[in-house]
């Protein structure tokens, strides 16, 4: 449910300058790696979705761009018979806030790596992780933490158990709270209760570096998830040797945020002491097939509005601007 008193913060001198500088630095990074900018219209062509900022233009109800990935998907499927392989975006999205601290207008920079269905995806996933690893340094963050997860670690066991709808939502909500006891409560009496509770306990038992992957061995679905474990292991082997100073890599097996959207590896960027993640992304291979295109995709979005808030409230987390 949207909050009743949404707020519309203005950016004054320092924040406005910082936004301009950060947008430039991040788009420069993406351009250097072959990502070409697309700018989907601020006014949506599609029917206004729930959660978007809507208004009447004369007699017609219209909505502002509320999510870059969705707006880009519309643009790409309308415009290109074959997918451009790397795209980037920068600008604002407008959303009715769910939490009281969320602004209506949110500034973002992001990118997407798009391939025809069936192409090997592992290299694209590592490429995106490497790009995201460069973001804290570009923004002047003194230290940061990159969380690696995989939506399939929860999605596949739920599908294997034939668990969909409200019951699956309850399990995901319990995992989001990191509460295995809630998984047990939600599945009370269901044949999969013991297996999924043990799985939840395994996912939540460790939250650390590469060794965390070993926790999957205790899951009843360890064999089912062998491909995901091995994919994450290979990604870690590729990323650890090039980890920049002041960036920590953590494996978060219980990352279920956006589980309805993500289908594979997920990435989340945090700064120590930040109350919200500063960037997020992952693989979402079902988006384009749902729009009639046999393409697979992954990407991430840097949430500049949250970073601007963090720079205002916790300047100690950032290097002095040069």
């Amino acid at each position: 449910m949207a909050v009743r008193t949404p707020h519309f913060p203005d950016l004054l001198f320092n924040s406005a300058a910082r936004l301009r500088r950060w947008e430039g630095a991040l788009m420069g990074l993406l351009a250097d790696h072959g990502y070409r900018e697309l700018h989907p219209s601020l006014v949506l062509r599609e029917p206004p979705p729930e959660g978007a900022l809507r208004f009447f233009d004369g007699d017609e109800l219209v909505a502002l761009r509320w999510d870059f990935t969705v707006a880009l998907a519309g643009l790409l499927t309308r415009t290109f018979p074959a997918p451009p392989d790397r795209v980037a975006y920068a600008g604002a999205v407008f959303r009715r806030p769910v939490q009281p601290w969320e602004a209506v207008e949110r500034f973002e920079v992001g990118c997407e790596r798009i391939q025809p269905e069936g192409e090997p995806a592992a290299e694209a996933d590592v490429e995106l992780a490497r790009l995201l690893m460069a973001v804290p340094g570009l923004l002047g963050l003194k230290s940061a933490i990159l969380h690696l997860g995989n939506a399939a670690l929860v999605r596949r066991p739920l599908e294997a158990e034939g668990l969909f709808g409200e019951l699956a939502d309850a399990v995901v909500a319990a995992l989001s709270r990191r509460a295995p006891h809630r998984v047990r409560e939600a599945l009370d009496g269901h044949p999969s209760a013991a297996r999924l509770t043990t799985h939840a306990e395994a996912l939540l038992s460790e939250f650390d570096g590469p060794g965390t992957l070993g926790a999957l061995a205790a899951s009843p679905y360890a064999a089912l998830l062998e491909e995901e474990r091995s994919h994450m292991d290979r990604a870690l082997q590729a990323l650890l040797p090039i980890l920049p100073p002041n960036l920590e890599l953590r494996v978060d097996l219980a990352d279920v945020a956006g589980l309805g959207f993500y289908t594979g590896p997920t990435l989340r960027l945090w700064a120590p002491g930040a109350q919200q993640e500063l960037a997020a992304g992952g693989r979402y291979d079902r988006l384009f097939p749902g729009l009639g295109r046999p393409w697979q995709a992954a990407g991430f979005c840097v949430r500049l509005s949250r970073l601007l808030d963090l720079a205002a409230t916790r300047p100690d987390l950032f290097e002095e601007p040069r």
Binding site: Q99, W101, I145, H147, R177, R178, A179, H181, R182, F207, D208, R250, D252, R268, W270, A271, P272, G273, A274, Q275, Q276, E277, R314, D316
Partner: protein, 215 residues
């Protein structure tokens, strides 16, 4: 920045059970401060302090990251639906969320009422139960002393927490249905837990260890 870590502890029924459990542990609350009116209490561990908060306010302090950890009843969590991590069911403070009416009034009597009025502090759980039972009712929101409502004609029945049943008995009320169960939960701020696990997880483990040792 090396800030003091704050844990939000509940006042009232849960707090009364919690404070003795912490005595003699690394998170024991300073006895002199407890006797005073201050709401920020030092613990036996330097750099860790406790906030004493009402149950309904406590989740907000934790969700906003002001307090890194907190202890609160699952009934409150279910009503508020805040974005919090719920790290453990602590087991103590167990009680039932029950539909209670005057002695002699059965659940069937209540079902048969064309205009049922239920007084409660727990509208969300009550609405969910009504939906499950395919019933409709007028909800009368109250924040305390719900037991008076059926006695004085404000409502036909109440939905409230029942621990021993002593208060119900004293008011001539009985449980006619159990809607759910509640117990104390250890909650954490999502941001603090995910961005500073090296600080927050050891504190959570200390708290769990202290409570386990007394169990």
């Amino acid at each position: 920045m090396n800030q003091t870590l704050l844990i939000a502890f509940p006042k009232g029924r849960l707090g009364d059970e919690l404070v003795p459990l912490l005595a003699g542990t690394p998170l024991a609350l300073d006895a002199a401060a407890l006797k005073s009116r201050v709401l920020r209490i030092p613990t036996a561990t330097p750099g860790v302090a406790a906030l004493l908060l009402k149950g309904a306010d406590l989740p907000r302090y934790v969700a906003a990251g002001v307090a890194s950890l907190g202890i609160v009843g699952s009934d409150t969590l279910d009503e508020m639906d805040m974005d919090l991590l719920e790290l453990a069911d602590l087991g103590f403070g167990a009680c039932r969320l029950s539909l209670c009416a005057k002695a002699g009034v059965s659940l069937e009597d209540l079902r048969a009422k064309p205009h049922l009025r239920l007084a409660t502090k727990f509208p969300k759980a009550t609405e969910a139960w009504l939906a499950r039972e395919d019933l409709t009712a007028e909800l009368v929101p109250l924040s305390s002393s719900a037991e008076l409502a059926p006695l004085l004609g404000l409502a036909d029945a109440i939905v409230d927490l029942v621990q021993t049943g002593g208060t119900l008995k004293a008011h001539g009320l009985v449980e006619t249905a159990i809607l759910g169960r509640s117990s104390a939960r250890l909650v954490a701020a999502r941001g603090a837990y995910l961005s500073e696990p090296g600080r927050i997880r050891p504190l959570a483990e200390t708290l769990l260890g202290a409570l386990k040792a007394k169990a």
